[in-house]
C-alpha cells in the first residue's frame, strides 16, 4: 500500500513536469502550427534563470588574505556574498529563498526570450514545412545550449531548495497510514502543487479571458478567426511568450530536484514530444492528462515487483504505451482530426 502511494506521488510529480512542458508545446502547435524543437531549450533556459539569479544575488566580495596561501602558491581569497555584507540576515534569507524568488526574475526574462524568438525567427516559419521548422528550431536549441555551456560549463550546478522545505515530510499519517511509511520530499510536494496551479492558471487564462477565447478559437479554426477580421498573428507572439514562460517556470522550480546543466533540455525534448503526441495534437487537456498518465506509468513500471516479471520494462514503458495508444486511438488521447497528420 505505502509503496503504491509513494509511486503515485512520484508519478504525479514527474507528470507535473511533463505536463508543464507538453502544455507549452501543444499551445505552440495548436495555435501557431509550429513544431518547436527548441522547447526543451526553453525549459533549460528557465532553469538557468534560477542559476543566474542565484549568481546575481550571490555575487561575492573577494578579500585577499595575503597571510594564507593556497596549495598552488597564490594568496587565499575569502569570499562573502555582497548581499550578506549589505543586508545582513535579510540577505542570508534571500539567498536561502533564491529558487522561488527567481520566479520573479524568470517571468520577465522568459517573456523576453519568447518575444524575441517569435518575432525574430518563429514567425517566419509559420508557413514553412514542418521539417524546416524542426531543423531551424533544433539549430536554435543547439545554439542556446552551447551559449549556456560557454558561460556556465557542462557540469550541473546545484540549486538548493529553501531550508524550510528541504527535508522530507510524513504524508502517510494524513491518509491514515502508519507514521514513517510514506515519507516524501517537501520540495516535490511544492513542485506538484506549483505545477497544478500553473496548469490551472493557463487553463483559466484561456477559458475566462477574451484573449484566451480568441486563442482557443484560433486553435479550433484559424482561417475562420482570420476571416472574422481578428488579427490572430499579433496574438501569436503573446501565445509563444506565454508558452516560453510556462516552460521556463517548470525549469526554475525543477532545479532543486535536478541540478541544471546545459543539456537538460535535450533530455526532456523527446519525452515531451511523446507526451504531446500521446495526448493528441492540439489538445491541451490531452497533453496534461498524457503527462500525468505517462509519469505515473513510468513510476509503476520501475517498481521491483514489476521489473522482476518484465526485466527492463522501466526503460521502454513510455514508448510502449505511446505505441499502444497511437494504434488504438489514431490521434492520441484527445487529438483532433487533421492536425499535423500530413
Amino acid at each position: 500500500m505505502d509503496a503504491i502511494v509513494l509511486q503515485i506521488l512520484n508519478g504525479l510529480d514527474k507528470g507535473g513536469a511533463y505536463a508543464l512542458i507538453a502544455l507549452g508545446l501543444t499551445l505552440i502547435f495548436g495555435t501557431l502550427g509550429v513544431v518547436n524543437f527548441a522547447h526543451g531549450a526553453l525549459f533549460m533556459l528557465g532553469a538557468f534563470c534560477a542559476v543566474t539569479f542565484n549568481h546575481l544575488i550571490g555575487l561575492e566580495q573577494v578579500v585577499v588574505d595575503p597571510t594564507r596561501t593556497t596549495a598552488w602558491g597564490t594568496p587565499l581569497e575569502i569570499r562573502m556574498p555582497y548581499i550578506e555584507v549589505w543586508l545582513g540576515d535579510t540577505g542570508t534569507a534571500m539567498l536561502n529563498y533564491s529558487v522561488p524568488l527567481s520566479i520573479v526574475f524568470a517571468i520577465p526574462a522568459m517573456l523576453l526570450v519568447g518575444y524575441v524568438m517569435e518575432r525574430g525567427l518563429i514567425r517566419h516559419f509559420y508557413k514553412r514545412p514542418h521539417a524546416e521548422q524542426i531543423l531551424v528550431t533544433f539549430g536554435l536549441a543547439i545554439v542556446l545550449q552551447e551559449i549556456i555551456k560557454t558561460y556556465f560549463g557542462a557540469n550541473p550546478i546545484p540549486q538548493a531548495a529553501p531550508d524550510i522545505v528541504r527535508g522530507a515530510m510524513d504524508i502517510g499519517v494524513f491518509i491514515g497510514l502508519d507514521p514513517g511509511t510514506v515519507v516524501y520530499p517537501q520540495w516535490r510536494i511544492v513542485y506538484l502543487l506549483f505545477s497544478l496551479s500553473l496548469i490551472g492558471g493557463v487553463f483559466a487564462f484561456l477559458q475566462f479571458t477574451t484573449f484566451g477565447m480568441v486563442v482557443r478559437a484560433g486553435m479550433a479554426d484559424r482561417e475562420t478567426v482570420g476571416l472574422l477580421g481578428i488579427n490572430i498573428e499579433r496574438r501569436f507572439t503573446l501565445v509563444f511568450a506565454v508558452a516560453a514562460v510556462v516552460a521556463g517556470l517548470a525549469g526554475v522550480m525543477y532545479t532543486p530536484i535536478l541540478p541544471p546543466d546545459y543539456h537538460m533540455g535535450m533530455d526532456f525534448l523527446v519525452l515531451s514530444f511523446v507526451v504531446v503526441v500521446v495526448g493528441g495534437m492540439g489538445s491541451l487537456p490531452g497533453a496534461v492528462s498524457a503527462g500525468f498518465l505517462l509519469g505515473t506509468l513510468q513510476s509503476f513500471a520501475s517498481m521491483n515487483e514489476v521489473k522482476t516479471i518484465l526485466p527492463g520494462i522501466d526503460q521502454i514503458i513510455i514508448y510502449l504505451v505511446a505505441v499502444i495508444i497511437l494504434l488504438v486511438r489514431p490521434r492520441g488521447l484527445m487529438g483532433r482530426k487533421g492536425v499535423m497528420e500530413t
Binding site: R128, L135, G139, I142, V274, I316, Y319, L327, E341
Partner: protein
C-alpha cells in the same frame, strides 16, 4: 524542371557522381578530409541519408527512428563476422535481410498513421531498441561496450591459421580498412545512388511523390497507397542496414548508441540540410555534418594560433579566443548556427543554393528579356534533382 531529366542526362550525372566519389581521396585532401576513416564515413552516411531520402524525400513520411535499422545492420554484420568469418559479403547479406525484416515489421505498424504520429511511432520503436540494446539485451549486443569480434569466436569459414592475426574484415585477402575499405564503401554508395536514381525516375517513384503531394486524393482514386509506402520504408530501411553493416565492415564494432534518437535526428538533419527530395542533397548534407564533426572538433587554441599567426600580436589574441568559441569544444555551436542559416536562407538545402547559382548564371546568359518566373518555394527545389 522535371523535363530536364532524360536518360542521357541521368547517365551523365551518374558517371560524374561515380568519378567524384572515387576521386574523393584526391580532391578532399586540401581541406583536410582526405584520410580513409573520414572518407569511409562520408560514403557510409551518404548511403544512409540516400536511403532515408527515398522515404522522406519522396513520400514525405518523416521517420524519426531510422537509426534503429543502422544499428540492426551493424549488429547483424558483427554477428556474421563472429559466426561465419570476416568476409564482408555474408555480413552485408545478413544486414540487408535483418534490417528489411525489422523494417517490414516496424513499417507495417507505423505506416498505419501519418504525419507526426508516424514520426513518434518510429521514434518510439527506435528508442525501445536502443534502450533494450544498451541494457537488457546485453547478451546479444554487449551493451555499452559494444559488440566486437573476439579470437574465441567460431568464425566457421575463416582459415584456421588466422587465429593470431588482427580481427579485421577482409574481402578475399583485401583488408577492409584504410583506402580499400573506402573503395568498398564507395562502390556500394555508387550502387545505392544508381538504385536511388532509378527509383526517382520510375513509375514507382512517381507514385511515392503522389503520396507526398496528396494522399487523400490518391485513396479517392481507389488506390491503396500503403504497399507503396511500405515498399519505400523497407527499401530505405535496407539502405540503412547496408550502411550499418559497412560501419561494422570498416571497423568491426557495433554499439547501441548508433540507434539513439540523436543518430536518427542526425540523418534527418543531413537530408534536410542537403536538400530533401533531391538525389545528391542528402549525400552532401551527410558529408558536411561528418566533416564538421571530425574536422571542426579537432581545432584547438594551438592550431588556431598557428592559423592566425599572420596577424599582429595585439589582434591575434582576441581573434583566437573568438574563433575558439566555434571550434574544438564549441563545434556544436557552429553546427547549430549552420542549421539555422541554411534553413532560413536556403529552405531547399544546399541543393537549392546550387540551383540558385546555376539559375543566376543562366539568367545572365539569356538576359532579362523573359520573366524567368524563378520560384523560390521549396516545392520547386524538390523537383529539381
Amino acid at each position: 524542371m522535371m523535363t530536364k531529366t532524360s536518360p542521357r542526362s541521368d547517365l551523365f550525372m551518374f558517371v560524374l557522381f561515380s568519378t567524384a566519389i572515387l576521386t574523393m581521396p584526391i580532391w578532399l585532401a586540401p581541406v583536410g578530409a582526405g584520410y580513409p576513416d573520414l572518407l569511409q564515413k562520408f560514403a557510409i552516411f551518404g548511403l544512409f541519408a540516400l536511403g532515408f531520402n527515398l522515404l522522406f524525400g519522396l513520400t514525405g513520411y518523416l521517420s524519426f527512428g531510422h537509426a534503429a535499422f543502422l544499428g540492426i545492420g551493424s549488429y547483424a554484420a558483427v554477428w556474421s563476422f563472429k559466426l561465419l568469418g570476416m568476409n564482408p559479403l555474408p555480413a552485408l547479406l545478413f544486414s540487408v535481410v535483418f534490417s528489411s525484416l525489422f523494417a517490414v515489421a516496424i513499417g507495417y505498424i507505423c505506416l498505419r498513421r501519418s504525419g507526426i504520429y508516424f514520426s513518434i511511432l518510429t521514434l518510439a520503436f527506435a528508442q525501445m531498441s536502443y534502450n533494450m540494446a544498451y541494457s537488457v539485451l546485453t547478451p546479444i549486443t554487449n551493451g555499452e561496450t559494444g559488440l566486437r569480434v573476439l579470437q574465441s569466436d567460431p568464425r566457421l569459414f575463416d582459415i584456421s591459421s588466422q587465429t593470431s592475426g588482427s580481427l579485421i574484415s577482409n574481402l578475399f585477402g583485401i583488408e577492409m580498412t584504410g583506402y580499400p575499405g573506402f573503395y568498398f564503401c564507395a562502390a556500394l554508395l555508387i550502387v545505392g545512388f544508381y538504385i536511388s536514381q532509378r527509383i526517382f525516375r520510375s513509375p514507382f517513384g512517381m507514385m511515392l511523390r503522389a503520396v507526398k503531394s496528396n494522399q487523400n486524393r490518391m485513396s479517392y482514386t481507389g488506390l491503396n497507397t500503403r504497399p507503396y509506402t511500405l515498399a519505400a520504408f523497407v527499401i530505405s530501411g535496407a539502405f540503412a542496414g547496408v550502411a550499418g553493416s559497412l560501419l561494422a565492415v570498416t571497423d568491426p564494432l557495433a554499439g547501441a548508441e548508433r540507434m539513439q534518437w540523436t543518430a536518427s535526428g542526425e540523418v534527418v538533419l543531413m537530408t534536410i540540410l542537403g536538400g530533401a527530395g533531391t538525389l545528391l542533397g542528402p549525400i552532401l548534407g551527410a558529408g558536411l555534418i561528418k566533416y564538421f564533426e571530425n574536422i571542426f572538433s579537432a581545432y584547438n587554441e594551438q592550431t588556431l594560433h598557428a592559423i592566425f599567426s599572420f596577424l599582429p600580436d595585439f589582434m591575434e589574441g582576441p581573434v583566437v579566443s573568438l574563433a575558439s568559441l566555434f571550434v574544438g569544444e564549441g563545434w556544436h555551436l557552429t553546427l547549430g548556427l549552420l542549421f539555422m542559416v541554411i534553413v532560413i536562407f536556403l529552405p531547399g538545402g544546399i541543393m537549392e543554393g546550387f540551383n540558385r547559382i546555376t539559375n543566376m548564371f543562366r539568367r545572365k546568359r539569356s538576359q532579362v528579356g523573359k520573366g524567368t518566373g524563378h520560384s523560390r518555394s521549396p516545392a520547386s527545389a524538390t523537383a529539381a534533382e
